[in-house]
Amino acid sequence: MASVSGKHGDPIIEIRGLKYRRGEKPIFDGLDICIERGKVTAIMGPSGTGKTTLLHIMTGQVLPDKGKVLVDGRNVPTLSNDQLFELRKEMGFLFQNGALFTDYSVYENVVFPLREHTDLPETLIRHIALMKLQAVGLRGAAELMPTELSGGMARRVALARAIALDPKIIFYDEPFTGLDPISMGVIVRLIRELNDSLGLTSIIVSHDVEEVSSVSDRSYLISEGKVVAYGTPQELEKNKSAWVRQFMKGLADGPVPFHYPAPDLATQLLGEKQP
């Protein structure tokens, strides 16, 4: 393990005092996050806490109201469009649904970023694309169309496309949602393997506690716009906070109540006028 100086080692992404509101509803209220280079970091939290929004802020798809978002030393919200595109060439992003180009074959999807951003000869592009597809185990599916793929396969193709340009950072948006257990296992393995073999930094947004804990080095738990807990999966497992326990164990009732706030049931039933 790399030497850790202070609380965090070598940060590749640093978020300081992030504020963002959607309409009247504050999504983030002074969020601080630090992501170490070369690690798999998970960002977990209940649905609707803005985990995906956080990814969009890190990649410059959404502008925050306030705060610093330093990615590899560059403050994302202040970048011009061209600078942002330069930065994005070093990022891979795995959308929840894959976001594959439905009119292109698997192979054409993977070569798309290579053709757009490099002047490499066609033979070399072909070699790179086949190697990326080999890495996700789908070299044999190169000629299929996205509509012919299962959900898990589509996500793997999208992963091959995301690493086509050899990014430094890769973002996974809910990579486990809607997959069968085998595909889930494949994705878990791929995240770990790609992270270690390509020297990536991986950031996973998810609420699948078990899968995330099996692959991540560090996890952030966020809720209501703030970081609730941070640590290795083992540390979170032992966390004393009732909220963290409820989330990690998936309990129906706890600090997050089972019932949405409502007036007393008996009062409501007895007091209600018949229509």
Partner: protein, 256 residues
């Protein structure tokens, strides 16, 4: 009073859309030089938009030409002036019917296809995916389609006019026995290159720009839902039709 306010808001909404559309057009024009560096993408769209509309344009052109021939013959026959049938058909097509009819058909055939294609790419996050790969979807997707439409439209109008005149010829000369020589020589003598032919080409160019701009604009800014894309597609047809007819009036008033 309330009615006035409603009308005011509708007017404001219309102006806002017009402004957004204009800004989008400027953006497309600014990116045109980049797109010209990859002509393959534009030719692909000329094929998708233009060549794929050919059958519709030719069939419609044939019928419009035949109707012109029939109506023209019946009217001219009353004045014993059927030798002018060729001119009537050619001028009607070149000046008005060719550009306007083609633009309306174009909005229905190619415009809707463009809007729903781009709208669906938005709805399925393909545009966002492209942005995350540091590829600007306006440059890569929208501009080639826009240019493809702008190039296709005058070509389609040319085909429509040619087929339309042939339709008039079938009806007038072969069916109604108008003298073949006077049919063609009349066209030759009376149709002016600048006033009639180029004014039509200019119109078709303007209509092509308007119809394609509306189509890609509606697609790019469509609500990313099933209903949103369907509404955007409808708006493309309605707005293109109104825009083409209004522009036609404007250009006719200015040019003739």
């Amino acid at each position: 009073m309330r009615l006035l306010r409603e009308a005011w808001y509708i007017l404001l909404g219309f102006l806002e859309m017009l402004g957004a559309c204009g800004l989008f057009l400027l953006r497309l024009i600014r990116y045109t030089p980049y797109a010209l560096r990859r002509p393959g993408l534009i030719f692909q769209q000329v094929f998708n938009i233009g060549a794929m509309s050919l059958v519709l344009i030719m069939v419609s052109g044939l019928f419009v030409g035949m109707v012109l021939g029939l109506q023209g013959f019946n009217t001219l026959n009353k004045f014993a002036a059927t030798t002018a049938l060729g001119t009537l058909v050619a001028l009607s097509l070149l000046r008005e019917l060719g550009p306007v009819m083609t633009a309306l058909l174009f909005a229905g055939r190619a415009g809707t296809a463009l809007t729903s294609e781009i709208g669906l790419m938005r709805a399925t996050e393909q545009l966002a995916g492209m942005e995350m790969m540091a590829v600007d979807p306006v440059r890569r997707i929208v501009v080639p389609r826009f240019l493809g439409g702008v190039i296709s439209m005058p070509l389609l109008v040319g085909v429509f006019n040619a087929v339309g005149i042939l339709g008039g010829y079938f009806l007038g000369v072969i069916h109604m026995h108008v003298d073949q020589g006077s049919f063609w020589s009349d066209i030759h003598a009376r149709v002016d290159l600048k006033d009639d032919f180029f004014s039509g080409v200019f119109k078709s160019f303007v209509f092509g720009m308007a119809a394609t701009l509306i189509a890609v604009f509606e697609g790019y800014y469509a609500q990313p839902t099933a209903e949103g894309v369907s509404r955007a597609t409808t708006r493309t047809v309605v707005n293109s039709a109104v825009a083409v007819l209004a522009l036609d009036f404007l250009l006719t008033a200015l040019m003739f």
